[in-house]
């Protein structure tokens, strides 16, 4: 089947600016990277500028719709683009790109995703990342944006919970394909970077690859925005005194955007690069994911699993989907009740006192299934199915 092998020109639309790191942004970059490796031509449209550090993408394949504006949306501050100028740029990009199909991420976001959905004449694949049960925009969408939603040819949801939101609020269906991770990068063992070593001069020695219980201070880490309540740092901080009472030598490292006052035992690395994140995960004993809500996927959780660190996570549906429930004997990490700092402390102490390399190894194996080498072909299968149901192209045929 020659049609099945044809190289595709895919227009990827990301609603959030690449100025800051984020799950959707990383997913788009990872997908573009995979598509290129698979012999296709991905082009990315997004607000803001591409950071050179994120240059897994050829700069000429990236088009910015202009500066992003920070607005409160969906419980956090989103850096998005909107307005007539953005709309005109989106239209021009769609017209000039000669795409076989458009893949829009978070289509119901007040940013260029919605503008692209509105203007697209090509087949549209849309990925829903959010799993907010009572998302106001989703409810509004069912009325005002009905016509735009009808334009989606194929929906993808990143988890079962994200899919059920699509089914309930939009009356549409979606194929469940999880977000991808670069498994090998995270599973390749520690290699401390200077900035990390400087931050912890005392802990450099004695840490060996994959060792679940290094001889030195146990290290607990949190990765996520510090200033965003739903990331749940408050729950972790409330649990710290109880944990420190039992393990006075515990070292706590938090990494993520934003600033806030931290207790003296906690150190903040600020925004970290991918390399630092890998090094951090590989030198930690416990990874805590205390998220309170609206976490549709938790890509960092999977990256943590890939690194082989012990996991403690809140029992959000999307986390339980991945890890298994609190009473599941084969669960891949400790799960505690959302927002309960005492339960969090108990789970952390349990993991520190009874480390299970076997469980960490099982979690690592489970994370392997989310590598782009598995996730990418599934996305391509949806592209092929969408194109097999696409109308004959009106514009002239394009040779890629």
């Amino acid at each position: 089947m020659t049609d099945q092998r044809r190289s595709l020109r895919v227009g990827l639309v990301c609603p959030y600016s690449f100025d800051v790191a984020g799950g959707v942004q990383n997913h788009v970059l990872g997908l573009a990277r995979y598509l290129r490796q698979a012999g296709h031509r991905p082009y990315v449209l997004a607000p803001g500028e591409l950071r050179p550090s994120a240059a897994t993408l050829d700069l000429e394949d990236f088009v910015s719709v202009g500066a992003a504006v920070a607005v409160p949306y969906n419980g956090s501050v989103a850096r998005v683009s909107f307005g007539p100028l953005s709309a005109a740029r989106v239209r021009r990009w769609l017209r000039n790109g000669k795409f076989d199909l458009i893949h829009i991420h978070e289509p119901i976001t007040p940013s260029i995703s919605l503008l692209a959905l509105w203007a697209a004449e090509q087949p549209v694949v849309a990925t829903f990342h959010t799993a907010t049960p009572r998302s106001r925009s989703m409810q509004l969408a069912s009325g005002v944006l009905r016509a735009a939603i009808e334009k989606i040819d194929a929906g993808i949801a990143v988890s079962e919970s994200a899919r059920s939101v699509v089914v309930q609020h939009l009356g549409r269906d979606a194929v469940v394909i999880p977000n991808g991770i670069r498994f090998d990068d995270f599973a390749r063992g520690p290699h401390l970077r200077p900035e990390l070593a400087e931050a912890h001069p005392s802990t450099n020695s004695g840490r060996t690859a994959g060792s679940p219980m290094p001889s030195q201070q146990p290290r607990l880490i949190f990765i996520g925005r510090l200033d965003e309540p739903r990331k749940g740092l408050d729950v972790l901080l409330a649990a710290i005194p109880q944990i420190r009472a039992a393990r006075p030598d515990l070292e706590v490292i938090v990494a993520g955007q934003g600033s806030r006052r931290l207790p003296s035992c906690c150190r903040s690395l600020g925004t970290i690069s991918d390399e630092t994140k890998i090094a951090l995960l590989n030198t930690a004993d416990v990874f805590v994911a205390p998220q309170l809500a609206r976490e549709s996927f938790g890509i960092v959780l999977l990256e943590a699993m890939a690194s082989g660190v012990q996991i403690v996570a809140s029992d959000l549906p999307s986390f339980v989907d991945v890890l298994g429930g609190p009473h599941d004997a084969s669960r891949l990490g400790e799960v505690f009740t959302v927002g309960d700092h005492r339960a969090l402390a108990g789970a952390v102490l349990h993991v520190l006192d009874h480390p299970s390399p076997l469980r960490a190894a099982r979690a690592q194996q489970a994370a392997r299934h989310y590598d782009w080498s598995s996730v990418g072909p599934a996305v391509l299968a949806v592209y092929r199915a969408t194109l097999s149901a696409a109308p004959a192209r009106r514009t002239g045929n394009v040779v890629g």
């Binding site: 079962e160 549409r172 269906d173 194929v175 989907d321 598995s374 599934a378």
Partner: protein, 178 residues
């Protein structure tokens, strides 16, 4: 209010009404076209799946009983002029047969596996398109103005997908559409 003003207001209302109706009609039309296109894609995918299944028979090392079972189910699914219900049953049977013989095959048929995944995705896209079209057709305006009168009401294609995989075995692969 003068007669002229009333007339102008009436005209404006009328124009808005006509614009809304034609917009709705174009949405109904687009949704209907999409059900037709997704159906032909699904039809093609199902035929491809049955053909790949037929090719299992030529697999080296396959036993004749397994071959007969697969060939029978695949031929039934490829039968021309089946009515909708018969086709749904034949395709479901083929899914069940493929699930049953899967562990007994001498090698994993990767082409068949990807065809099964394709059929499953195409079916979901088709049924999604049908649901959109039906919800538009149920609208009050569409019904009283009979905006969908030229087309038959689309129906979802209901069948068992079987243990298809869009992803290699993993925790999320258990998702089975109803």
């Amino acid at each position: 209010m003068s007669t002229l003003e009333v007339l102008a207001a009436l005209i404006i209302v009328l124009v808005i009404l006509i614009w809304r109706i034609s917009w709705l009609a174009s949405r109904v039309h687009r949704a209907t076209l999409r059900t037709e296109r997704t159906w032909s894609a699904l039809d093609g995918a199902l035929v491809g799946r049955a053909e790949r299944a037929t090719e299992l028979v030529t697999m080296p090392g396959i036993d004749p009983a397994t071959a007969l079972l697969v060939l029978d189910a695949a031929a039934a699914a490829l039968e021309p002029d089946l009515c909708r219900g018969e086709r749904e049953r034949a395709e479901s049977d083929l899914s069940h047969v493929l699930d049953a013989v899967g562990p007994m095959l001498p090698a994993s048929p990767s082409e068949l596996t990807s065809e099964r995944a394709r059929a499953s995705i195409c079916r979901r896209l088709h049924n999604d398109a049908v649901a959109t079209a039906l919800s538009l057709r149920r609208r009050y305006m569409v019904r009283i103005l009979r905006l969908a009168r030229h087309t038959n009401e689309p129906r979802p294609f209901e069948m068992a997908d079987g243990k298809y995989c869009t992803l290699p075995a993993g925790p999320l692969e258990t998702d089975q559409p109803s």
